[in-house]
Structures are given as structure tokens and as C-alpha cells.
Amino acid sequence: MNDFSEIENELRKLRPAQPSPILFERIEEAMMNCREGAWSATQSRKPSPYNWLSLGFGLAAAAALVLFAAISMEHQHDGGKEIAQISRESETAPLRSSAKESTSSDKFLPAGATRLVYNTRNEGLQFARGSGQPLRRLRYQTRETWQWRNPTTGASLRVSYPSEEVVLIPVSGQ
């Protein structure tokens, strides 16, 4: 390597061009943006206290479970009634009617359904494949609530969940 010491010294005397002063300002600005970006990223990474979609799925699953339990209980009652009928054929009518009443007391009847549209967004026009007619795309964000009621006991069951619907409305030219 000693053979090259002279040329190395000559090369070291050559000074590279200096960066423009604006470069420092630009880097400073970029670093500030990074800091702000990193801060906002950590903020946005915090879990939202209201995750409506998960809540909706959870409620829907809970409702399905309750309904399934109610139906299976009803089946069990029906089975019990049949056994009772077979074994007690000579039972009197009032007893049978009381058994029927006890079965009907477990029934939940639909009592109401509401659909509250809390946001509508116009997503503009689009063209369906193969169609020349434009369609306006509307997105509805809604909250649907279903209610069941037991007329005998007065107990009620209510399930509410968020939903989203996209509607395409044909736009006619005038």
C-alpha cells in the first residue's frame, strides 16, 4: 500500500464540494416531520375505546347464543310434555292446558325493529361493468335494533348492532 501513499495524499488534498445550506434546513424540517409523524403514529396505534364493529359482532353472537339457548330449552320442555302426556293419559284437561301455558311462557315474540341511519356518504358516480348508465354510490352507516318480548312474563330481549350498507342508485341524464 506504501506504493500508493503519494497518490493517496494527492487525493486527500482534493476537497469534496460542500452541501448547500438549504440542505441542513430541509433535513431539520424532515426530522421534525418524522417526530410529529412518529408521535401521531403512536397515538393512532392506541386502541379505540369504542370498536363498534367488534361490539356489533359480539352483540350479534350473544343474541344468537341466547336465542339458541331459548330454542333448546323450548325443545326440552316439549319433550317433557310428550313424556308426561304418554305416561299420564288419563290426566284431566286443565292439567294439559297448564302445561301448554308453561311452554308458551318461554316464547319470545318479535316486538320491534328499528334502523337508525346516522351517517350517509355520497361516494360519487361510478359505471357498472358493461353499462353506460352512471350509478351514484351511497354508503349508509346505520344502527339496527331488534326486540323480542315474552307476553307472559313481560321479559324482553334487545339486540343492537352497527351496520353499513352501500346502495347504487341509477342516475338518469336530463
Partner: protein, 163 residues
């Protein structure tokens, strides 16, 4: 151990490495402004990832990778510019600050070195990287990096020898 992320005075770190980094970036782009864009992106990326300044080889790797991406991205623009340059006599900012004609001749000799030799010389002379670091940046063995350096110096010496 200095950490750029926690080191408030990043400017002093940058002012030390900036001229060498810019020269390194200029191996791939002709314009000084493009080289500054590349260096800015690499330095900010390096800083964001909390790398220590001792791992500066990573900074050169970033500059190299961004410069190559830049070339790929702007290949169409580069072709247009190349044709424009061939038609007009466009001014290209010099990579060095010359003091005399010998230095100018040396700079011109560096400019015509094969790219793979030139980048080793730039990293070794003006950025003071070790052969191990250079090998890491280029993804070659230390021996390869050292032999490219020797070939480059031999070529430069031959060019500058009085005839």
C-alpha cells in the same frame, strides 16, 4: 456511544459526513440537487431508525440503495436529460473544489474510473471507511474491496504521471 436519535446536535454529525456522503451520491447522479435529495432521505432514514453513528456503513448502504432506486425511478427522465445534455452544453456542478490544474486533472481522472473502483476510492479517501465497512456496503469480500482500491489508485497514478 453517540446515538443520532437522542443526539440533539445532529447538525455537527451531519456536517462531518455530508461532503463525503454527497460525493458518494454523486457517483450515480450528475446533479448536485439530486445528490442532496438522496443524502437527505438516507440521513433521515438512518436517524429515524436510531442507528449509532459508529454504524455509519449503514448510512452509505442507504445512500447507495436510494441512489439506485432513484436511477431506476427516473430512468426515463435521465434519458431525456442525457439527450438534452448531448444537445446543449449544460453546466454540471463540480464534485470537488479545485485549487490548481493538477487537482482538476486528478478530479477528471477519478471521473473516468470504472464505477466499481470509483465508489471504493470515494468511500476510502473522503469518507474514511475501512475495507471491512466498504465490503459491507458493497456486499463483496474485503479482498475484493481492497483490490478494487489498488486498481483505482494504480490507474490514477498512471494517468497523472508525466510523460
Amino acid at each position: 456511544m453517540q446515538n443520532l436519535a437522542s443526539h440533539e446536535d445532529w447538525k455537527s454529525c451531519f456536517s462531518e459526513v455530508a461532503p463525503g456522503l454527497l460525493l458518494f451520491a454523486r457517483q450515480w447522479v450528475q446533479s448536485a440537487a439530486d445528490a442532496e435529495d438522496i443524502v437527505q432521505e438516507a440521513f433521515v432514514k438512518f436517524w429515524r431508525r436510531n442507528h449509532k453513528i459508529e454504524n455509519r456503513a449503514l448510512l452509505y448502504t442507504a445512500v447507495r440503495s436510494i441512489a439506485l432506486d432513484f436511477i431506476r425511478r427516473d430512468s426515463r427522465r435521465a434519458r431525456r436529460e442525457a439527450s438534452a445534455i448531448s444537445e446543449t452544453d449544460e453546466f454540471i456542478e463540480p464534485q470537488f473544489e479545485f485549487e490548481d490544474d493538477t487537482q482538476r486533472a486528478l478530479a477528471e481522472a477519478i471521473d473516468v474510473l470504472p464505477c466499481e473502483q470509483r465508489e471504493v476510492v470515494v468511500m476510502k479517501i473522503w469518507n474514511e471507511l475501512t475495507f471491512a465497512e466498504i465490503a459491507g456496503v458493497l456486499g463483496v469480500s474485503q479482498n475484493t474491496a481492497a483490490s478494487r482500491y489498488r486498481y483505482a489508485l494504480a490507474a490514477l497514478r498512471n494517468t497523472l504521471q508525466p510523460r
